[in-house]
Subunit: 484 residues, 2 copies
Amino acid sequence: MNTRNLTLMTDLYELTMMQGYFEQQENEVVIFDVFFRSNPCSSGYSICAGLEQVIEYIKNLNFSYEDVDYLRGLHMFSEDFLQYLSGYHFTGSIYAIPEGSVIFPKEPLLKVIAPIMEAQLVETAILNILNHQCLIATKASRVVFAAGEGGVMEFGLRRAQGPDAGLFGARAAMIAGCVGTSNVLAGQMFDVPVMGTHAHSWIMSFPDEYTAFKAYAELYPAACTLLVDTYDTLKSGVPNAIRVFQEMKEKGADPKRFGIRLDSGDLAYLSKKARKMLDEAGFPEASICASNDLDEYLIHDLKMQGAAINSWGVGTHLITSKDCPAFGGVYKLAAIQNENGEFVPKIKLSENTEKITNPGNKTIFRIYEKDSGKIKADLICFEDEVIDSSEDLLLFDPLETWKKTKLKGGTYTVREMMEPVFVKGECVYQSPSVMEIASYCKQEKETLWDETKRLFNPHQVYVDLSEQLYQVKKELLDQMSVTD
Amino acid sequence: MNTRNLTLMTDLYELTMMQGYFEQQENEVVIFDVFFRSNPCSSGYSICAGLEQVIEYIKNLNFSYEDVDYLRGLHMFSEDFLQYLSGYHFTGSIYAIPEGSVIFPKEPLLKVIAPIMEAQLVETAILNILNHQCLIATKASRVVFAAGEGGVMEFGLRRAQGPDAGLFGARAAMIAGCVGTSNVLAGQMFDVPVMGTHAHSWIMSFPDEYTAFKAYAELYPAACTLLVDTYDTLKSGVPNAIRVFQEMKEKGADPKRFGIRLDSGDLAYLSKKARKMLDEAGFPEASICASNDLDEYLIHDLKMQGAAINSWGVGTHLITSKDCPAFGGVYKLAAIQNENGEFVPKIKLSENTEKITNPGNKTIFRIYEKDSGKIKADLICFEDEVIDSSEDLLLFDPLETWKKTKLKGGTYTVREMMEPVFVKGECVYQSPSVMEIASYCKQEKETLWDETKRLFNPHQVYVDLSEQLYQVKKELLDQMSVTD
């Protein structure tokens, strides 16, 4: 599956435009930025994910004989153009923010520098991949935040929007801090922990609940989590589980490995009652896992109510990002190279000021408070700008420019966020493993202030423009309105 | 991609339960039903989709050497069990409602009859595939309904939840009545029409809008839809489009092929203004296509406001079913075969009456009013029941049993909805092409009353139980509460 060829996974208009450029013999090098306009799920930040799959996609780009034949059959494309496609490969450069990074609206998280025919083709697939994984990583990060010390298990495969959504959704969820996934294929492909208990059907296939529990416990004494809600949680499920735990303990099993799972009913009430019953029976270490339509808000609320839940199985809401199932990443032209090899900044106007793009060949500098290591702001700059952190730095809001902050030299540090991924067609980036990315992501979240991480009405991180970028943008806008 | 092996695309617990049954030497034939509890998006019906991919999945089930090796590395599974998996293939039977059918909550849309080890494994993938495609087909059907005479184009690939969500989402959208998709890979794989115009970047890559339009029109005179909102829709976009149309007309191009696309701003206002400008310039046949975060409600509303829009490009909301991104299909044990080969009905209790399952080996009879051909009700029956449509038929609500309807013999017709798909491991079903399914789906929607099709507060179709099934369910429930 790693070598799946997704070359035709593109919008038809990318191909018709490509042919247009081909016919015009117009193939200047251009820059496209991928960015998004607002965080999903009212979050204060997003998590970057999907770069490894973008790299695989770019590496595997290649129109097969069948692909070209199919396109010929559409009767839209000339033989010359089809000939060009047969020999197509990506010769451009790509820069991107590493996976697992915290990212913010309006800043490019990936940029493509390539002849326009090549840059246009890859738009759809790059957006598809990044939009999906950034979305699920961001949602999962919120759920993990709500769960605090309790581990979150990704259990959503059956409700995911198709096989890839389950697979790459699990990948994104692991990056964002889940402790495991139920998805065995994800476990195999990404070398991440797989987890699970048993279903109601296990219980129902035995003559009674006790026999079913006993059979399961004897088979899996080292991971003995029993689902207690098939018939009646407190009258039947928990007492039967305790009976089995007692028998297992007598046989020498480790009570730290015992647990129950609640999958219906009032989880706050049932978990507290079950905790009491387990404690009184001498199983204070037995864990209580909860599942059933959980999301970050419900987990937060259950914890507020003192629910005695140690771990959380989260399905539908996480794997579909149910309250906000799309990440609005876009792919916009930022510059065109002229005959002299210079990038001429381009801008897209809009009635909506928020939708006006940032022109030019850009990068992002992240500014941290030196003492705390927390993020002060992100600064979108031209890629050849330099920030000397020993000097004072003036930050200002790019819309309400009177809102200013001056950072004293020596009190802040700077990190350039974009890294080279492809240089002139060659991949120069080695993706870390998913668990390495997860570990990096955890550090990244440490750079956020608590005010940004909170679930409700979080503080939005400042994303400002450098003075130089601001001036160029303003000039372009002024020119545009004069010609209006 | 058709032969992708998704065998490990399962929840870990399916495998741990399988090993449990293996160790218990418990492998009776069981019946699992796939059903859902409510229509997504407040719809009055759902559309069945995904069966072809379920069939491919079942046919390709096979644990490769690498799969078994990966599972061995988890240190959870015995060598005997891994040996069994190496030789695994599906030997069971599957019955299903054909794709494109209208379906309703609580009735099985697919049933698996197989040894429990086999039936358990396939739960997750079957649900993943059906949940996704039924969801998108249902959402797309609503959007198509709202658009009425105007064609709906599926434009969502870049916002879909990963490659498969784009691909199979496009498939489901075509089944439900979209006229085309932008997704070229979907076009290739499913032989469905692909469509598209051009992007803002096309315009921006030219010195000015007029030159960009002219270049596009000369290249694609037979499908000349120009995107008019890059700079200013009414001041620049539409006048430039008209200028190009005039030049093209002089050169002999067919004005029926001209059109504009609006992708921002107030679509009602702009479309009416643009219509007037096009009409006055002598292009009354030029079409107006609209896109920009459309869904069924916005389309309905735009039409109410008299928007002059002929076709609709729908992306994010359709491809993610944004207001309801999960279809709640579940997979529940309904019966276990005893030593005598009889299926003993099984039931799952729940505090929530709605969640109690329907026991036994069942099928669905759809009852139509003979004169109109419209659906009167669906009747869930045991699979060996027979309905003689020359006799009177008493229907009653399975919860509020005093709500009764008697259908006079001769006034109704009956159709059994489930068809054999696999019989004892052999596939006996040939999937129709996607466009054939789409054509069948259109007929299927003709069997719904207008009251069921409407977007707001639709009439819910009756799904009743046969007298025999009702009695068996009642007895099982009574037995359960006695032992409580």
